[in-house]
Amino acid sequence: MAVGTYERAPTLERADYASPVASELETIWETKPGIGGWLSTVDHKELGIRYIATAFAFLILGGIEALVMRVQLARPNLSLLTPEQYNQIFSMHGITMIFLYAQPVLTGFSAYLFPLLLGTRDLAFPRLNAFSYWAYLAAGLFMYASFLVAAAPNDGWFNYAPYSLKTYNPGPNMDFYALGMILLGISTTAGAINFLVTVLRTRAPGMSINRLPILTWGTTTTSVGILLSMPAVTLACFMLWADRQFGTHFFDATARGQPLLWQHLFWIFAHPWVYIIVLPAMGIVSDALPIFCRRPLVGYTVVVLGTIATMVMGFGVWLHHMFATGIPFIALSFFSGASFVITIPSAVAVFAWVATIWTGRPVITTAFLFFAGFISMFVIGGVSGVMTASVAADRQLTDTYFVVAHIHYVLIGINLFPVIGGLFVWFPKMTGRMLNERLGKWSFWIILCGFNLAFLPMHWTGLAGMPRRIYTYQDGMGWNTVNLVTSIGAFFLALGILLVLINIFLSVRNGAVAGPNPWDGPTLEWVTPSPPPPYNFAVIPAVASRHPLWEDRLREGMGHSSVHRGLVLDDGKEMLATTVLDAEPDAILKMPEDSYSPLVVAVVMTAGFAGLLLHWWVFSGICAWLMFMGLLVWLWPEPKLGQSARWDR
């Protein structure tokens, strides 16, 4: 039998969303209605939205924790919380915001948008995507379960040894942290692999790498960052757990262990992580700000190179979290210097955005306001970062409220602002309805003012010498007024976020109908109806420029993108694989059906981790075996996943 028998060249046809091909695809790709479909779906759009919704739920939890802290700190010597309660709450606030909100929400945007931006039908591994989501949810619930036994992690989000060891922390608090982080790491790693393969192999024909939207560059870059950094923290958490449960001495100084080893392993991971939770958000701005400035982004190539350079350099600055630990002078100067230099690529992005505004004709929408406000907040977070890059200054600043102010400008300014802006841009795509602009603008101004009221004075609190992570402070230190202002600002900020949530709630049902391309955006997601059908594209589009929907008006590129005429792939669930650099058509991918196995595997895996926490070793063993069985079902070869020639067409 000749190899050729199994080769099939798909036909090139014109088909829109009303064509017979489209209705055929609808039946092939659609998820079963009802709870069964909900639990087994592998549709990236459904999962992406779920990721975003879950991340917002964690944002609300972390926000409530923040407000409780701010009440406790509003005046000196308050005792709303016991010291131990405060410590658990500030730790869970940090863990929630950094690990359960900031990165997952960006994963949500990417999971939703990747296939749409890239002109394909799903992520490369749809079931793995479902698994990532379930494992993320499970890891979050796992860590939050600690509150039920009043033993939440209580050593801050970076959890320094030896306070985290059993000697000083006998309860299960740190076991929730160590095991929960490993669990979450599995989810994040799976997600990163999925994004990488998707971007490398499933782009629309013609979408060479210099035509990728910046958001995909951001997420691709950070996915590499995740794969390189995650092992460090997973290892560290495993070592911590072993120290606590099996009497190993990795971090135990009383037995010649090294407490500082934890800090190195943690920051080798966590400094890159800081970029992992901002670069895709910067990508959101780089892609969406130009829509409202009515011109392409200024400096696409340098911005992309800057993104990559930031990630690479992000692996060489971890020591700047440890300037006060007694590191030798030479090492200090190297890491200090590197920390200054890493700002340069960020400056590239800032001036690219400013130039895009100045050379464009900005239309003032809520999304635009969030992006413009973001630029300013980004710069505040950036320059306070430069101050902490200086060893001489940082050894005063570190571990004070100055750093708390800095991280919030970075996290709220560079993550939350773009995320809310991005929501205003893509909510119409996701739901078919526009968010309310009036309410949106109100929420912007309240968030902007509340945020700055809460956190700008906090720089001062730090310069006035208030250490971070204290559950109360004494009267007469000169910190009373600033703290009161900060607490009031925090409630305004919370109110603004509440307005956004109300807006979402109202608009899902009653918002204006969006149509496929309400903002007149340039990229492929705007070709599809809002919300897009399960198969995204009736035919696989072919791309000839960076802005397929603007190219006629910009006279961009040589040829023409072709969005309604393209390869027909309708012999079962199919996608196109293309080559890595040039995106030439390469193979037809047979995509898996919906399945319960990702959910089942995630659940038994989490149960196994719970068993480890409780020392139910046999139970954990059984879970491991069930997980293996679940994987077998998941990966079981099926005839319809093989390529078959259909000569009868």
Binding site: F340, T356, W358, V363, S390, Q396, T398, D399
Partner: protein, 317 residues
């Protein structure tokens, strides 16, 4: 505790000037970029709607790249300048201008500071806690470590902080240029009472400092003619001596702060309460309410026991 004003002689001055410079540069950058955004938006804004047919058309108006060249060019110069200044400052303050004559060992405990004065003359070595005296106008070396978790030793008005790390001796030097009382606080999270792990550095004129040191070497005051003090001494050894130490008595504990010459200190419980008889007895009667979770247990002293112990401590000037 602000360090935008320092009293730290050469070192404090260097850090302060650099911090101010970076702060001002930061403010200038923020103002410039924010104005650029604001003016850009106001000047260039389109009044057309965001959606619908008469929306602003898309056009490519110039490459705009010169913004990046100029902006990044200027930023790079500012960054390199800051970097060089920082490097210069780091080198300048790495070592004191002359070798310190005085070395003080500081060891962190959950949630108080053990302090030991070193000397060539072994009879002058002594221990104290939570309050450090230093002579004005000379660099003092601090050698810091910890018996339990990581802490950080920080006297903001005198200079930078240094972490206390198990099995590791870190050192830092500080100098005060005028007499005064400088507050410090632990600044690495160390558990429940991290908030109440303060300390005080008192900078004395050199003569006063020597006098202070001499007085610290004196044994405990146990006047035989005051029976309540003598009774208090016995009670102290019995009830407190397992953890606390007072030179010249049988109390030799090392789990809690050394209480020799307690009344010469400004505060009790690591900067938590002012040191006067009322607060002192309040603390001894119920440390767990004052500083919840701290490692001194409530001792359930009877009224007379408490009174005699307090009288004894009051004599420890």
């Amino acid at each position: 505790m602000t360090y935008l004003r320092t009293f730290g002689g050469f070192k404090g001055e260097q850090i302060k000037v650099l911090t101010w410079a970076l702060l001002i540069q930061a403010i200038v950058v923020v103002v410039i970029v924010s104005l650029l955004v604001l003016i850009g938006v106001l000047l260039r804004r389109s009044r057309r709607p965001a959606t619908g047919l008469d929306r602003q058309p898309v056009q490519e108006t110039g490459s705009g790249l010169s913004w990046i060249y100029i902006g990044v060019g200027i930023s790079t110069i500012a960054l390199i300048g800051s970097m060089i200044w920082n490097g210069y400052t780091m080198a300048a303050i790495d070592r004191p201008p002359r070798a310190p004559e005085l070395t003080i060992e500081v060891r962190g405990h959950q949630w108080w500071w053990e302090v030991r004065y070193l000397s060539q003359d072994t009879s002058r070595i002594f221990e104290t806690a939570n309050e450090i005296h230093i002579p004005v106008g000379q660099p003092v070396e601090f050698r810091v470590s910890t018996v339990d978790v990581i802490h950080s030793f920080w006297i903001p008005a005198l200079g930078d902080k240094i972490d206390l790390i198990p099995n590791q001796i870190n050192s830092n030097w500080l100098e005060a240029d005028s007499p005064g009382i400088y507050r410090g606080q632990c600044s690495e999270f160390c558990g429940q009472q991290h908030a109440h792990m303060g300390l005080v550095v008192v900078a004395d004129k050199p003569a006063d400092f020597q006098a202070w040191w001499d007085s610290q070497l004196q044994p405990a005051a146990l006047p035989a003619d005051q029976p309540q003090v003598a009774e208090g001494a016995t009670q102290f050894v019995l009830r407190c001596g397992a953890c606390h130490n007072i030179r010249g008595t049988q109390a030799g504990g090392r789990l809690g702060p050394n209480l020799s010459h307690l009344m010469s200190r400004k505060s009790v419980a690591a900067g938590t309460l002012p040191n006067n008889p009322a607060y002192l007895s309040g603390w001894i009667a119920d440390p767990q309410t004052v500083k919840p979770g701290n490692l001194m247990p409530n001792l359930d002293l009877s009224g007379p026991e408490l009174a005699s112990i307090r009288t004894f401590l009051e004599a420890q000037k």
